[in-house]
């Protein structure tokens, strides 16, 4: 089942059979790199273009990429690193997988340019361990790039050196957190580091390091080709460019949709074929499982960009849009999510290690008819004791779904507690489940 539905930039004109170097070059690939190197662009010029474009990190936090690049101590003597985060473990997110599958060279070119702009001569792409064939393909693409002289010593005769390596993880969600990812590359247990120091000063092997998401790097050649100004105008102010949204859940055509930032959610939903079976939209998680859930009617008023989603009380995150229709039991949905965070906590810091299990068990009890009236207050209090008190953002990620589900669907939780069963009758839930529809 191909998930590629629509590409307007990174995913444009590429598919399973057109991922190789020749295809990428035919689409104009590596032209930007060639220009930068032959025209001898200054590092500042590259970074300025990226700043102008208002490209924001596609890994979840939406941090302005140009600003991040400017934090790198470019004059630091000795090794510096650029690292690509392709660990993509957030439930609902599957865009980086498709970028690596259909257009791996865009990531490679983006990383070379990033290395050039930040004075780094070595890069790593950390690829999620459960998509091994994608890792293998990336290795192949690297080999192509090396052979073509885009990687290695003296790239295109410019005197610039850059080597890039692929590294695969083993499927731990926490290794997507940038500092845990660095630990993992170093061969250690993937556990986040306390920040500060930030990777820009103390990163991989203790050296200055910049970490960006796959989509962020892949966007770079395109934004430089069209110019930062034009990239910005693709989207809306402060939210430049195109964005790939991974739409999943109760829609007719789940998949990746690369559309301009600021596109109304309703249009995205339409692209994805609308809510399955013509049912009513109940809720949407607009930015990956960590993002707070937004009720359907609120969502229908939003546009797909960082600012609009933030106004609705959630986050654009990685751009994973999980659509839930009226057949969804919100308690059960939350139980699933809470179980994920409970299983994926690295266990390092107290509130997350102890708290995620507690949250899951309470939600599990409620779902299984053993809820108590005080449980909702307890969940709210426990999540507020986790939020902002942990080493990395996984603590927040585990808490936000709980808080938002209870906030928006309190009645459903109370119904569960009082009646020891679901507000959404089982037969309705079944009707909404793939297994029963298709079997």
């Amino acid at each position: 089942m191909s998930t590629l539905k629509l590409g307007q930039m990174i995913l444009k004109d590429c598919d399973e059979s057109r991922w190789r170097l020749a295809d990428y070059e035919a689409r104009g690939g590596y032209q930007v790199l060639r220009r930068i190197l032959t025209e001898n662009w200054s590092q500042e010029r590259v970074i300025e273009e990226v700043k102008t474009s208002a490209l924001r990190g596609r890994g979840g936090a939406g941090f302005p990429t140009g600003l991040k690049w400017s934090f790198m101590p470019r004059q630091f003597p000795g090794e510096k690193y650029v690292v690509c985060n392709s660990d993509e473990g957030e439930p609902g997110t599957f865009k980086d997988r498709d970028i690596l599958r259909y257009n791996p060279h865009s990531v490679i070119e983006g990383m070379i340019i990033a290395g050039y702009a930040m004075g780094a001569s070595c890069g790593y792409n950390y690829i999620h361990g459960e998509i091994f064939e994608v890792y293998e393909r990336f290795e192949e693409a690297l080999e192509e790039a090396r052979r073509a002289g885009y990687l290695g010593e003296n790239i295109l005769g410019s005197g610039f050196h850059f080597e890039l390596y692929a590294h695969h993880g083993y499927g731990a969600y926490i290794c997507g957190e940038e500092t845990a990812l660095l630990e993992s590359i170093e061969g250690k247990k993937g556990q986040p580091r306390f920040k500060p120091p930030f990777p820009a000063s103390y990163g991989l092997y203790g050296k200055p390091t910049t970490i960006n998401n796959t989509e962020t790097f892949a966007s770079v050649p395109f934004l430089l080709a069209m110019g930062g100004e034009q990239f910005l105008h693709l989207g809306k102010p402060n939210n430049g460019g195109m964005k790939i949204f991974s739409v999943s859940g109760h829609v007719n055509r789940p998949g990746n949709y690369e559309i301009p930032m600021g596109t109304p959610f309703s249009e995205l939903l339409e692209l994805a074929g609308g809510v399955r079976g013509g049912r009513k939209l109940k809720a949407v998680i607009p930015g990956g499982s960590s993002a707070p859930v937004v009720p359907g009617d609120v969502m229908m008023e939003c546009t797909m960009d960082y600012d609009s989603i933030a106004q609705a009380g959630s986050m654009l995150g990685s751009g994973a849009v999980i659509v839930m229709d009226e057949t969804t039991c919100m308690v059960k949905a939350l139980e699933r999510l809470s179980y994920f965070y409970y299983e994926e906590s690295c266990g390092q810091c107290t509130p997350c290690r102890e708290g995620t299990g507690w949250l899951y068990r309470i939600v599990h009890r409620i779902e299984h008819g053993q809820g108590r009236v005080e449980d909702l207050e307890l969940l709210e209090s426990a999540t507020s004791n986790i939020m902002g008190r942990t080493i990395c953002a996984l603590g927040d990620a585990a808490s936000m779904p709980v808080q938002s589900f209870i906030k928006h669907f309190r009645d459903e939780f109370l119904y569960h507690i009082e009646h020891k069963r679901c507000l959404v009758p089982p037969e309705v839930q079944w009707a909404g489940s793939d297994i029963y529809v298709e079997a």
Binding site: E344, G347, R389
Partner: protein, 717 residues
């Protein structure tokens, strides 16, 4: 410098300091578990969360860098709410089995829970249970109590030098474990018991022996090596129950070696000698003190009279106190006996030629300040476990460390540059190195320099460059080297090379009071090892058994042939009963007062921790009584302080050596083929108390030592 404000109080700290450092400087307590001043920062427990002005979230004080103008509140509502929240998380899965937990009464979690915990539980789920782990004979585990602060993990990796514990698994399933099929082998492992803020890691020998609040606490000094670690000895009903470190930054910091921590078990061994005994016609009979003293004095006197000069040797373990050794020397003078404590040294020429007393030649804290170290024939982890700790710190600060010795033992010090050399090879290499540096070689070295050098000129250059590149250069003479029959030649070469390289010599002395023994002059022209194996007609032994000497079998044989052997000892072992004919029960260090001079020349006095067992008496009093009997004059000391003051008059420190020896006599020409191998250093066989600690003897190290033959195999190499 940075200026910030904590709870309204201004404070200045160095750049790079944390909020926790600043609070400590002000004496403001911030609750914490994972933070420890000697360990790296983990910031994982989150107990130290404080409010920082303009920061949206509470921040961990232990990991947050102090900044200029920062305003911190440690007890604001926001801070306390955060701290209480963390405490609740710590307690939800905790078994709360304080009544049966050995940590009870000295538990950081228990203490803080009183301040920050809630009395009512909001946690209604099943609690987690974690399987216990086998960490060997010293450390017991109750892993369900673990709060995953990783102090133990960080200690072993950073201070112990080798990661033996890790946090495996993730999330709620995270557990502290040793490697598969392994336990913990560090020679300083017991410190994790102190570091563990809860009762997850506890002392196996102490388990359920007493509640901590029932224990009497007294300061003491460890007699098991020359470091002079400060101890808190805890006892109940006049029995020592536990030993803990007494924090002393300049010596042991807050650490203890396992030897110092667990040796106390030997104090309560079943073969404690508690009454004087005399062997008559091959049978041991208990006698009154007066009778025993008379028999001892008479037997020694008759040997002195009948066997003439050189018939007697009075030997003591170098753990014996300044007071004991000073009075032993007086007793030796009264009997015309040679007095010595160098039980494992095979060469007396080095000390004789040097004249001055071998010691560290500097302070313990200087070790970390020195950035170039060259170890000759040393076995640091076994000799002085806490010296290895200091060296790890030096290595971390960038010191170059080179070792020449014949062992494969991993010192667990990062960056150490090892050269494996047998004793003869090392001597040849030193001669060549000295020549390489332009030293004029003495006659005895002529034969050695004809041998090919085990190291190349390039290697010598690299070594000189490494040492010359350092600001403070030290050359250390280890115990195996100092015990060697050619210790004098080794030291001559080391001193010559030290001169050429601008380095300072230091001696890793053997025995808690080795320096004190030399200072009070308890040294003869032969070493105790030589005297003991020389087949004298009479011996007097203090705190010694045949097993203590470099060659136990030869010594036992020599004792068996002697006319009389009088032993002042806390124990009546079978080997001693076979060797001796008078046994006088004297107090071990916990039952008397005394003074030890440690390796850095620091004089440390201690007092009794418990009452002496039955008829046991302080060694110094017994020695004074014997002297009085011999001389007919009563000895005028009523307290050990007075003995100490007589033994160490003003200015005694001028006796400490600044340089190695520069001429040896006699010094016959040496041939490499005639040079024997180095003796092995043991961790847990060095004195009577340590040998009786059942837990230490159950360690893999001790088992290997008891199985090993001394000296080792490579004599042939």
């Amino acid at each position: 410098m940075l200026t910030l404000e904590i709870d309204g109080k201004p404070v200045e700290v160095e750049d790079g300091a944390t909020v926790m450092d600043a609070a400590n400087k002000l004496g403001i307590y911030i609750p914490h578990f994972c933070y420890h001043k000697k360990l790296s920062i983990a910031a994982n427990c989150r107990m130290c969360l404080v409010e920082v002005e303009r920061a949206p979230k509470p921040l961990p004080a232990c990991a947050t860098p102090a900044t200029n103008g920062m305003k911190v509140r440690t007890h604001s509502r926001k801070a306390i709410t955060a701290q209480k929240g963390v405490m609740e998380f710590l307690l939800i899965n905790h078994p709360l089995d304080c009544p049966i937990c050995d940590q009870g009464g000295e538990c950081q979690l228990q203490d803080l829970a009183v301040g920050y915990g809630q009395s009512a539980h909001r946690f209604a789920e099943a609690k987690r249970v974690v399987a216990d782990k086998d960490l060997g004979p010293l450390i017991d585990t109750f892993m369900t109590r673990c709060i995953n602060c990783t102090r133990c993990v960080r200690f072993l990796a950073e201070i112990g030098g080798f990661q033996e514990l890790g946090q495996a698994f993730r999330g709620e399933h995270a557990e502290i474990l040793p490697f598969l099929g392994q336990t913990v082998h560090s020679e300083i492992s017991g410190n994790v018991i102190d570091l563990c803020p809860v009762g997850a890691l506890t002392s196996k020998p102490f388990l359920y022996r007493a509640r901590t609040w029932e224990l009497t606490r007294r300061r003491s000094i460890s007699p098991h090596d020359a470091w002079g670690s400060n101890l808190i000895v805890q006892s109940k009903h006049d029995t020592v129950k536990r030993v803990l470190p007494l924090e002393f930054e300049a010596i042991n910091e807050c650490w203890l070696s396992d030897r110092d921590r667990f040796a106390y078990e030997g104090l309560n061994a079943s073969d404690r000698l508690t009454r004087p005994m005399v062997k008559t016609d091959g049978r041991w009979v208990e006698v009154a003190w007066q009778t025993a003293l008379e028999v001892a004095a008479n037997r020694l006197a008759s040997v002195a009279e009948e066997n003439g000069d050189d018939a007697l040797a009075f030997l003591a373990h170098p753990m014996s106190t300044v007071e004991e050794l000073y009075l032993l020397k007086a007793l030796g003078a009264a009997f015309g006996a040679a007095v010595d404590t160098r039980i494992r040294q095979r060469d007396a020429r080095a000390d004789l030629a040097r004249g001055k007393v071998a010691w560290l030649n500097g302070s313990i804290t200087e070790i970390v300040e020195s950035d170039g170290h060259w170890f000759l024939g040393a076995d640091v982890r076994r000799e002085l476990p806490l010296m290895a700790v200091r060296l790890r710190a030096a290595a971390k600060a960038g010191a170059r460390i080179v070792r020449w010795d014949d062992s494969d033992d991993d010192w667990r010090i990062p960056g150490v540059d090892p050269h494996k050399l047998t004793a003869p090879a090392m001597l040849v290499a030193l001669v060549h190195f000295a020549k390489h540096l332009g030293v004029t070689l003495p006659d005895w070295a002529v034969g050695l320099v004809q041998q090919p050098s085990p190291l190349s000129a390039a290697e010598f250059d690299a070594l000189s460059a490494a040492l010359r590149g350092a600001q403070k250069r030290r050359i250390w003479l280890g115990r195996p080297l100092r015990a060697h029959p050619n210790a004098a030649e080794f030291e001559w070469l080391a001193e010559a090379i030290a001169g050429a390289l601008g380095a300072k010599l230091g001696w890793l002395v053997d025995g808690a009071n080795a320096v004190g023994a030399a200072v009070v002059g308890a040294q003869a022209t032969q070493t105790a090892h030589q005297l003991a194996s020389a087949g004298k007609a009479g011996y007097l032994l203090v705190n010694l058994e045949p097993e203590d000497f470099a060659a136990p079998d030869a010594v036992a044989d020599s004792f068996a042939r002697a006319r009389t052997v009088v032993a002042l000892t806390p124990y009546a072992s079978e080997s001693l009963k076979a060797a001796a004919d008078v046994l006088l029960p004297i107090a071990p260090f916990t039952e008397t007062s005394g003074t030890l001079v440690n390796i850095e020349g620091r004089l440390q006095s201690f007092t009794a921790v418990v009452r002496p067992r039955e008829m046991t008496r302080p060694g110094w009093k017994v020695l004074a009584a014997l002297t009085a009997m011999r001389t007919g004059r009563s000895v005028a000391y009523t307290a050990s302080d007075a003995v100490r003051d007589a033994a160490l008059p003003q200015g005694w420190r001028t006796q400490l050596a600044q340089h190695g020896l520069t001429a040896i006599a006699p010094a016959p020409t040496l041939h490499a083929s005639a040079i024997p191998a180095f003796d092995r250093v043991t961790l847990y066989q060095g004195d009577m108390i340590v040998r009786r600690s059942a837990s230490l003897q159950a360690t893999d190290d001790a088992k290997a030592e008891r199985g090993a033959t001394i000296p080792s195999e490579e004599a042939a190499a």
